[in-house]
């Protein structure tokens, strides 16, 4: 048996490459550095938006975070998982799998992105944010009915609106409702939730949304696809857009 008591930079154990501890430590240092960078990037970007009121395009945030994540992943694969020193077959397996992931995400997104006309066709047939009807359906078969999920009647509201109405009812007044909110979250130091509170009191919501929220909200079934509706007449994206923001607008409006 060969004696492996001393270490040089790169060694071989039983024909396999041993990565030196210096390399491993350096990779860890770089990974931690990139973690720091991505957090810094996120905070810097938020700071720029808030301090100078510059509306950065949404993709800066996404591209920044995801490209740093990709670099980190690459380092882990190459050095920690040893693909750099390993048989090419293993790398090939991983790359082919990533190709399939790309296909899966890509083509699904293409479909979702080009479904606007279907959504405008069936506009008015489904409520934005859902009807909550799925929650109202009790289980008919009594023999084994032990659903862990609560079923309750939302009276046609979406569950978010339903819970909001419940909360308002419990608090009594709108001010009490938001004051509850503030005290609760001041305790947990949830910055974002506290900002919401200031919004309710009339201050600017200084964590402004990125540009991406200008996309058309889309939901639901494709019912009415073949009904005799002329899509060009009922095409109205703004109505859908407004409806999506309606609940928030109602609560903030005073």
């Amino acid at each position: 048996m060969t004696n492996h008591d001393t270490t040089t930079h790169e060694e071989h154990a039983h024909g396999h490459r041993v990565v030196s501890w210096q390399t491993q430590l350096a990779v860890l240092a770089i990974l931690l550095f990139f973690t720091f960078t991505t957090v810094l990037f996120y905070n810097a970007e938020s700071w720029v938006e808030n301090a100078f009121d510059i509306h950065l395009p949404w993709w800066i945030n996404v591209i920044g975070a995801m490209s740093i994540a990709t670099v980190k992943a690459l380092l882990v694969c190459m050095f920690f998982m040893g693909l750099r020193y390993d048989k090419a077959l293993n790398t090939f397996a991983l790359l082919f799998c990533l190709f399939c992931v790309g296909l899966f995400l890509g083509i699904t997104m293409i479909d979702l992105e080009t479904r606007d006309r279907i959504y405008t066709w069936k506009e008015g047939e489904v409520a934005l944010g859902g009807t909550g009807k799925g929650l109202d359906t009790p289980s008919v078969d009594a023999r084994f009915d032990s659903s862990p999920a609560p079923t309750f009647n939302t009276a046609g509201l979406g569950i978010v609106e339903f819970r909001r109405a419940q909360g308002l009812e419990e608090a009594g007044s709108e001010l009490a409702f938001w004051t509850d909110h503030y005290h609760h979250h001041a305790e947990h130091q949830h910055a974002a939730d506290i900002n919401n509170f200031f919004t309710q009191l009339g201050y600017d919501h200084h964590l402004a949304l990125p540009d991406a929220n200008q996309a058309v909200p889309r939901i639901g079934l494709t019912a009415g696809l073949f009904s005799a509706v002329d899509p060009t007449e009922t095409h109205n994206t703004h109505a859908a857009d407004d409806a999506a923001h309606q609940p928030a607008a109602e609560d903030a409006g005073h």
Binding site: T7, V76, A149, I219
Partner: protein, 234 residues
């Protein structure tokens, strides 16, 4: 270069060295021609399994991307409910554990039995720490607020009707990942037990260490993407 990391040369006591599970005494699978064939085949099999793990999480990533595209305001709100400090802390914990897992492989390759065990123990501590942060500071607080998935959702202050989808995906993604942390921890724990009791891993027989470490790295790898997607992108 001689360092403290390279100092473990104590021979194993006789009852361990003669045990059939000791790394010097273990044969390779009989239907392979050489030990190398056995090793390469097992490692290739592990990589194929890792591709299935990547594709499993691809479903979560796909749903994330689709709903972010459909309901950007809900995703933005949801992301602001998460505290990046916990996410970043957990990232550091997992990166360090990944490093110690890689070091454990190295120690097995060089027959450094003591450091192999130390590295594995640090990795397991990191796994526990990750889960502790996740459950104590994130899940329990959020569930207490009513930010729960599906019909359990009872948070009265949500702004967008679709925030409920954000929470569903948050719990599905991180929950599935936490499950993988537990599985990876069990694998590494098994390796630690065998190396503690029998010195089962050494220069010619470190496949199980290598494959468990690979599994652990894929857990880390998925978190490397989950962290920016959930905490940083808004």
């Amino acid at each position: 270069m001689q360092t403290t990391l390279d100092a473990d040369t104590t021979p194993a006591p006789a009852h361990i060295a003669n045990h059939p599970t000791h790394w010097r005494n273990r044969p390779f699978a009989a239907h392979f021609r050489t030990r190398d064939d056995d090793f390469d085949a097992s490692k290739f099999g592990m990589w194929l399994f890792l591709t299935t793990e990547v594709l499993l999480f691809a479903g979560i990533f796909c749903a994330y991307a689709v709903f972010r595209m459909m309901y950007p305001e809900a995703w933005s709100n949801g992301s602001h409910h998460l505290d990046w400090r916990f996410g970043a802390g957990n990232t550091v914990v997992l990166l360090v554990s990944s490093w110690t897992a890689a070091s454990a492989v190295r120690c097995a390759q060089l027959n450094k039995q003591k450091w192999l065990k130390i590295n594995l123990i640090i990795t397991l501590i990191c796994a526990a720490l990750f889960l502790f942060i996740k459950f104590k500071f994130e899940y329990s607080v959020k569930l207490g607020d009513g930010k729960a998935p599906g019909t359990f959702f009872s948070y009265a202050f949500a702004e967008s009707p679709y925030e409920i989808l954000w929470w569903s995906l948050y719990y599905m993604g991180t929950g599935l990942h936490a499950l993988h942390v537990v599985i990876g921890g069990c694998l590494l724990g098994w390796v630690l037990y065998r190396s503690w009791k029998y010195q089962a891993y050494g220069p010619t027989e470190y496949l199980m260490v290598e494959n468990s470490a690979l599994y652990w790295h894929i857990v880390d790898l998925i978190w490397i993407f989950l962290f920016p997607l959930l905490y940083l992108i808004h």
